[in-house]
């Protein structure tokens, strides 16, 4: 008999809401690494014109947006009455963050 509980089969890892929680956690950890000061501003700005840096900045915008939207999701779950469609909300939050990041990339490339 298979005595493994659903939590130990790995099946939960394919659940959209588990993925949403992980994206929230990983994006939070990554944002922590991004907070730092810059003294030589113009030298830094010249460096930031590099396309790879622009891509990295796009990634940061995505992390910030997805972490904030994911956090709003958590606050809503904890403080508002439960509602159906949590999976759809998580997908909307992820998609909105992708759109914001893509708009940023477009605005610095064009």
């Amino acid at each position: 008999m298979d005595r493994r509980s659903p939590l130990h089969t790995g099946g939960h890892r394919r659940n959209a809401l588990w993925i949403a929680a992980m994206v929230h956690r990983i994006s939070g950890l990554a944002l922590g690494l991004a907070i730092q000061g810059e003294a030589q501003l113009d030298g830094f700005l010249k460096w930031s014109a590099n396309p790879y840096v622009k891509l990295a900045e796009t990634g940061l915008i995505f992390l910030l947006a997805v972490h904030m939207l994911g956090g709003l999701r958590v606050l809503a779950i904890e403080n508002l009455p439960w509602r159906e469609g949590q999976r759809r909300l998580a997908v909307v939050a992820g998609s909105a963050a992708i759109v914001v990041a893509a708009l940023f990339l477009l605005s610095v490339v064009i």
Binding site: G28, Q36, L75, S107
Partner: protein, 108 residues
């Protein structure tokens, strides 16, 4: 995580929602016009408003990040008890120091 840390984590998150939205809007506005040190410093130098905005942002982010790292460490590593608190305070102080240094550099 005790109740105080839990509430502090949620409170700093709620404080940062409008700050993050404003931050992203400023990023769009500033980068679209092309970045220059003169333009950025012209906006921030001597500005009490921007100084207060970013100082509040840094303190909220440092607190939020430190508590978040404590939660992740307690779930994903073997760290327990006092060591978790040392980690949390270390991360919080580091983030606050780096962030406030940057705020001072562009405001003063």
């Amino acid at each position: 995580m005790n109740v105080r840390l839990y509430i502090l984590q949620r409170a700093t998150a709620a404080i940062m929602v409008p700050l993050v939205v404003a931050h992203i809007l400023v990023i769009f506005y500033a980068t679209h016009r092309g970045l220059s040190a003169a333009e950025i410093l012209g906006r921030t130098r001597g500005s009490v408003g921007w100084g207060a905005f970013y100082a509040l942002f840094v303190l909220a982010a440092a607190t939020h990040g430190a508590i978040g790292v404590r939660v992740v460490a307690s779930e994903w590593t073997g760290l327990r008890g006092h060591r978790l608190d040392i980690l949390m305070w270390g991360v919080g102080m580091l983030l606050a120091t780096l962030g406030l240094r940057a705020v001072i550099a562009v405001v003063l």
